[in-house]
């Protein structure tokens, strides 16, 4: 992924949006109707012919509105492409911001038997779906769309929100022939932008608008126009084991950096992380919320005492108490939604309500606790070179202790009190509230371990096995989330896994005690695999990896496995009377920085010990490692499922 440096928008060549776009509704050459597939991507279900956007500022009663216009033309090739005729426009509404979609128009063109048929979208056939208190979407379906149709639509979004100028995605899930974004700047707002996923633009022009001069207050000015264009952008195709499409799409991201008022004064909005940190710490729903939360310490902690506890033990205890007092409502956010007093009363809130409150309580206990802003795995990564607050969608707390920095999150009762949930394991987080902003790695290097012990007895064509499993860290979290203390559910899963066996004595230890590994045990009895005079035993039964999860023949993106893993299997097999060992798999020992595997079988008298340990040492493997990683999985699947063969030495 390539990121260009931050650009601040200003410069000096004359141009106009309308002249340069070279595009009008309905002006479509016959070649587009005749096109049956896109030659550079013959499987593409549709093709974006033009996607043109423009943001500009419009004066209205002494203030500016941001006007975003978009015009898009798409050729539909197949039925799968019909989905592109269903269009959704997000609209934001909060406080004084009331976004509105205006000037909606849409057309569908079909050309058959020498006749052009144009169907017009009736704007009254558009609907607003309310998503939540802040977001809604304006939706419409273009009429009379079939494979072969060309659709085009345009709309304008009018907003008071100048902080996030409309971003622009050059890339879509279908290929794009030409995508262009024009921004017309006033002297009063300065924006920074970053380009993700590409080095450069095919078109980049910047200059003074050649229209009339404008006035705002006593200031006379001409708009500065910046145009960004790209050609022949391939379709983005998702893959398994990636974090978020947001990390990979080619797009432009804008953020307000300065406000320059008519008197010549300049207000830096978010030019540095330092400034952003200060802003947040002064914010009523962030820094001030934490301070107010400190006052709830006594109410929350009550009679609990932490005498003699180390700082890290104290942190865990407090996190546990907060978790038992309040509940996450499932919503993300980087600022609280109300006052701590209200939060305590309703006992449920978004991530920021919960974790900023936690930060306050930790501070109330005399600990050095700080809020940490981050972006969750599904939300994309944070670009640390660019101080854009909208990168973040989540807050956790970090505490300085003698044992080092501990990051905590009170939204999940199934996650250990000194761990953050897997959704937060995404690159870097920003610690706020210290003298300077500090970045902390959110990647988790400790491998999540799973270990199995098998005790296998064979007699008269039957196998009896006792199995113990233990899972730590995020593997424990995964099982806690899946089964908790539900032995019945676990037994049902085991019964479906071992079709011809009887599963008994299923027990679970530490189902919710997150400070301990998650453990379960079961007993199994069932027929042994027998062919002629030989017995075939899978020493690790059905508990190892059965197939390679990496089945693509090539890979375009890194493989993100969230956290490193280690698995250990130990089986003891008592040789039955009248049988000898016919075949044992060869030992293997292999290790490098990415992967290690160790397999050995040892015979001591009538006891066979089979051991397998393997580890994937990294959470993220670059795409160049894909074939090696796939190879490791293949070898692992083979070795882990090899059978021990016993042969009858006499009639059993």
């Amino acid at each position: 992924m390539i990121l260009t440096p931050v650009f601040v928008l200003f410069c000096c060549i004359s141009l106009t949006f309308a002249q340069d776009s070279n595009w009008r509704f309905g002006m479509i050459g016959k070649e587009w109707y005749d096109m049956e597939a896109y030659e550079k991507d013959s499987e593409a279900e549709a093709l974006v012919i033009h996607d043109l956007g423009q943001s500009s500022f419009q004066q209205n009663a002494g203030e500016f509105f941001v006007i975003f216009k978009r015009k898009t033309r798409i050729k539909i090739f197949t039925e799968a492409g019909l989905d592109y005729a269903e269009v959704e426009i997000p609209i934001y509404r909060e406080g004084g911001i009331y976004e509105k979609v205006i000037e909606l128009e849409g057309y569908t063109y079909n050309y058959s038997n020498g006749q052009l048929d144009r169907t017009v979208l009736d704007p009254s056939d558009s609907y607003i779906e309310k998503i939540n208190d802040y977001w809604a979407v304006k939706k419409f379906v273009l009429p009379n769309v079939q494979p072969g149709s060309i659709i085009e639509y345009g709309y304008t979004v009018r907003t008071q929100n100048k902080y996030n100028l409309h971003d622009w995605e050059f890339q879509h899930r279908i290929p794009t022939l030409y995508s262009e974004y024009t921004v017309k700047m006033t002297p009063f707002y300065t924006y920074a932008y970053i380009l993700q996923g590409a080095n450069d633009f095919d078109v980049f022009e910047s200059g003074e608008d050649n229209g009339l001069k404008q006035n705002f207050g006593a200031v006379e000015y001409k708009e500065i126009v910046h145009k960004f264009g790209m050609k022949d952008i391939p379709a983005f195709r998702g893959e398994e084991f990636i974090t978020s499409i947001n990390d990979y799409l080619i797009k432009l991201d804008f953020q307000l950096s300065k406000i320059n008022n008519t008197t010549g004064q300049t207000f830096e909005i978010m030019s540095t992380w330092e400034d952003m940190t200060k802003e947040f710490m002064k914010h009523a729903d962030f820094g001030k919320y934490i301070k107010k939360s400190e006052k709830s310490y006594k109410e929350v902690i009550g009679e609990n005492r932490f005498d003699g506890l180390s700082d890290s033990a104290k942190v865990c205890k407090i996190v546990g108490i907060v978790k038992s007092n309040v509940d996450w409502n499932g919503n993300y956010g980087r600022v609280a939604t109300g006052k701590p007093k209200d939060f305590i009363e309703r006992k449920t809130g978004n991530v920021a309500d919960v974790n900023l409150f936690l930060t306050g309580i930790l501070r109330g206990a005399g600990l050095n606790a700080y809020p940490v802003m981050l972006s969750t795995r599904g939300h994309g990564r944070v670009w640390r070179d660019y101080p854009f607050s909208h990168f973040f969608n989540y807050v956790i707390a970090a505490v300085e202790t003698n044992d080092g920095l501990i990051m905590v999150d009170a939204t999940s009762t199934l996650c250990a009190d000194n761990r953050i949930p897997p959704r937060c394991l995404n690159d870097w987080g920003l610690i706020l509230g210290q003298d300077e902003p500090v970045w902390v790695s959110l990647n988790f290097d400790i491998p999540s371990e799973v270990s199995y012990d098998f005790n296998i007895q064979l007699a008269k064509g039957n196998m009896q096995a006792e199995v113990k499993a233990l899972s730590t860290e995020y593997e424990g979290y995964r099982l806690r989330s899946a089964y908790g203390d539900e032995t019945t559910e676990l037994a049902e899963v085991l019964e479906k896994k071992y079709v011809d066996a009887v599963i008994d004595n299923v027990t679970i230890s530490h189902p919710f005690e997150t400070e301990h590994p998650y453990q379960f045990e079961y007993a199994l009895s069932g027929p042994v695999e027998q062919i002629n005079n030989k017995i075939y035993i899978s020493p690790f039964l059905q508990e190892t990896v059965k197939e390679n999860p990496l089945k693509q023949q090539s890979r375009n993106h890194p493989v993100d496995m969230t956290y490193p893993t280690k698995r250990t299997y130990h089986a003891e097999i008592a040789l039955p009377a009248g049988y000898n060992v016919d075949y044992v798999p060869d030992p293997i020992k292999f290790s490098n920085n990415d992967f290690s595997m160790d397999y050995a079988v040892i015979r001591e008298g009538d006891l066979l010990s089979v051991d397998l340990t393997y580890a994937f040492h990294r959470a993220i493997y670059p795409k160049k490692s894909y074939h090696s990683l796939k190879f490791y999985f293949n070898e692992l699947v083979k070795k882990a499922n090899e059978k021990i063969v016993l042969v009858a030495t006499s009639e059993p």
Binding site: N132, P143, V145, D327, R346, K347, E492, D500, E642
Partner: protein
């Protein structure tokens, strides 16, 4: 649920329904029942929402404030837009057990039923006490349908008559394989007046009167422009054969229109006009059906707007009780003595009746002659899945498998949908993930629909497995590729009867080529089971240079009661056991 009360008051013009729930949350796993969602719309107006948290003893902990309640659109996954909304809020306390109480009122001037009452919040959550009061003017005739609820007490004060039902629910187990539909397991009371008003006045005195109301609702919606009529006539101008005409028009419908559900106000029952679909080329099931009926009318072909309850798990319509029990519209076309069922949202062949439509009652709307007809069940030949695989061991020890599978029934529909609606890369992912034998890595696939009029798909997959054949000393051991048989709960765990809606028929022909330098070793033994519930067989033999294994599994459709479940399970378990741990051994020479 401790208490669930519903009070319905009908004054002859509008229905006012007061709802009250009290739920006890015993531990954190029950917190989800404190996440309250109340549906409403412009027709079903919501008011007087009150919510309170109390402790175990019933002492009020706090009342939910209005600002804590949020509203959002409620649009189902099958719809593009609906003008329904949900008011939601969360009731949460940190000391268990705690209780939540909430109440609200819904008012509506348009209704068909007065109330449909299911006194349960979830299939596995018990309800201690539930009461339904329905008050109507004393001169109003009402009818009710009861399932698992006793007849009501009646109180008349001269002006009004109040009916009171009481109920409770033990809470049955959650999801089980092939269980009857969840709704059929819950107690239920449905009450309706003889006369109702929903867009138009109607009567539920008979299916005939209900059918007439549907006719009224659809009246005048069949108009098409002269241009559209001319196009229809052009489309069939080359043939006078009615079946061929129907075929041509259905293909035109499939090519030109698509399913988009936009439901506004009475849109849950009333179709958009045919002219709307003709112009937009989209609509929901009602709109597309109404449109196609209009098209057929122009062509002079007789057809009937028909209502059904769609779903693979059949929820039988109670024909003794006149109340709408449908969720889908199709067209019934009588043609040359045949009855054709035409789903206007489908892209499958004409008269294709898939698992979601087969074997159920269909309500054929016909003024003064509305009636139920039976949609026929799927037969064995309609659902049989045949798989032929040729395995050969390569020089590197991996096994190459050439899979040719013919899918019918549900899998046909799925693949048909994916192929039409997904990009090839997405199809590759689906084939890799769901349609490739475990342990095999697909190298390529081809999907073909050999004939427009046949409801099956042929999927060819070429795949490689590094572990399908294992070498142990001088033995090369191949697995006998298992079939994907249903895995039912063990008898002690099963709570519900089994409802098998259509037959399951799987046929495998597996060919294992003799690896170079090897001789034939052992083959799996023959297996054959026959039972009242189905059959299973496995045979193997050497044919030329390969071993051939033929397997067949059949599960009959029908109902298996809990009393029969042990025997049923024994059969299924025997088949599953026969499928695993089966090997073919070749010996190095």
């Amino acid at each position: 649920m401790l208490r669930y009360e519903k009070k319905v008051v009908f004054n002859g013009r509008e229905v006012v329904t007061y709802n009250f729930c009290e739920i006890q949350i015993n531990d954190p796993s029950g917190d989800c029942y404190g996440e309250i969602q109340i549906p409403y719309s412009s027709i079903y107006r919501l008011s007087d929402v009150v919510a309170v948290i109390t402790d175990f003893a019933g002492r009020e902990v706090r009342k939910v404030k209005k600002k804590e309640m949020t509203d959002r659109s409620a649009i189902s996954s099958i719809s593009f837009y609906e003008d329904d909304f949900i008011r939601e809020f969360k009731l949460k306390h940190n000391t268990y057990p705690y209780r939540i109480r909430y109440s609200y009122t819904i008012t509506s001037k348009q209704f068909i039923t007065l109330v449909r009452w299911i006194p349960a919040i979830d299939i596995d959550i018990p309800t201690r006490s539930a009461t339904l009061d329905v008050t109507v003017p004393a001169n109003t005739n009402i009818r009710c349908q009861l399932r698992g609820v006793s007849r009501p007490d009646t109180l008349t004060d001269g002006t009004d008559c109040t009916y009171t039902w009481t109920s409770s629910y033990e809470g049955k187990a959650g999801e089980e394989l092939s269980a009857p539909p969840a709704l059929a397991l819950l107690p239920e009371v449905t009450v309706m007046p003889e006369h109702f008003y929903f867009d138009k006045p109607g009567s539920l005195s008979s299916w005939k009167s209900f059918g007439n109301w549907v006719c009224e609702l659809n009246a005048g919606l069949d108009q098409l422009s002269p241009g559209e009529e001319a196009r229809i006539e052009r489309c069939i101008s080359n043939t006078t054969d009615k079946r061929e005409q129907l075929q041509l028009l259905y293909r035109r419908l499939q090519e030109e229109t698509r399913y988009v559900n936009i439901s506004i106000e009475t849109g849950g029952f009333k179709p958009y006009p045919a002219s709307y679909v003709a112009e937009k080329k989209y609509g929901d099931c009602k709109a597309l059906t109404n449109y196609f009926q209009s098209v057929l009318k122009v062509a002079g072909l007789e057809s009937y707007y028909t209502l059904v309850y769609l779903g693979e798990n059949i929820n039988p319509v109670d024909t003794n009780f006149v109340v709408p029990q449908f969720n889908h519209a199709i067209l019934m076309v009588p043609l040359d003595g045949d009855t054709l069922w035409v789903d206007c949202t489908s892209k499958a062949p004409l008269n294709y009746v898939g698992p979601s439509l087969q074997n159920r009652k269909a309500f054929v709307v016909d003024r003064d002659n509305s009636r139920f007809l039976d949609i026929p069940p799927l037969r064995y030949q309609d659902v049989v899945q045949t798989r032929k695989v040729h395995f050969s061991r390569m020089m590197n020890g991996k096994v190459r498998g050439e899979f040719t599978t013919v899918y019918r029934g549900g899998e046909y529909q799925e693949l048909h949908y994916y192929q039409r609606n997904y990009h090839r890369a997405d199809n590759e992912y689906i084939i890799r993930k769901y349609f490739t034998a475990r342990g095999f890595e697909p190298m390529g696939h081809e999907m073909s629909f050999p004939c427009d009029d046949s409801a099956y798909v042929v999927l060819n997959v070429e795949a490689v497995s590094p572990s399908f054949c294992k070498e142990y000393g001088s033995d090369l051991i191949f697995n006998v590729l298992p079939m994907n048989l249903p895995r039912f709960e063990k008898p002690g765990r099963r709570v519900n009867d089994v409802q098998l809606n259509c037959p399951v028929v799987l046929k495998d022909t597996l060919e294992y080529r003799l690896p170079p330098g090897c001789a034939f070793g052992s083959l799996p033994e023959q297996v054959s089971y026959d039972s009242d519930f189905g059959s299973y067989s496995l045979t193997s033999r050497v044919v030329g240079d390969h071993v051939e294994v033929i397997k067949e599994f059949t599960l009959f459709p029908g109902h298996v009661s809990l009393e029969e479940y042990d025997t049923f399970y024994d059969f299924v378990f025997a088949c599953l056991s026969a499928e695993i741990n089966k090997y073919i051994v070749f010996t190095k020479t």
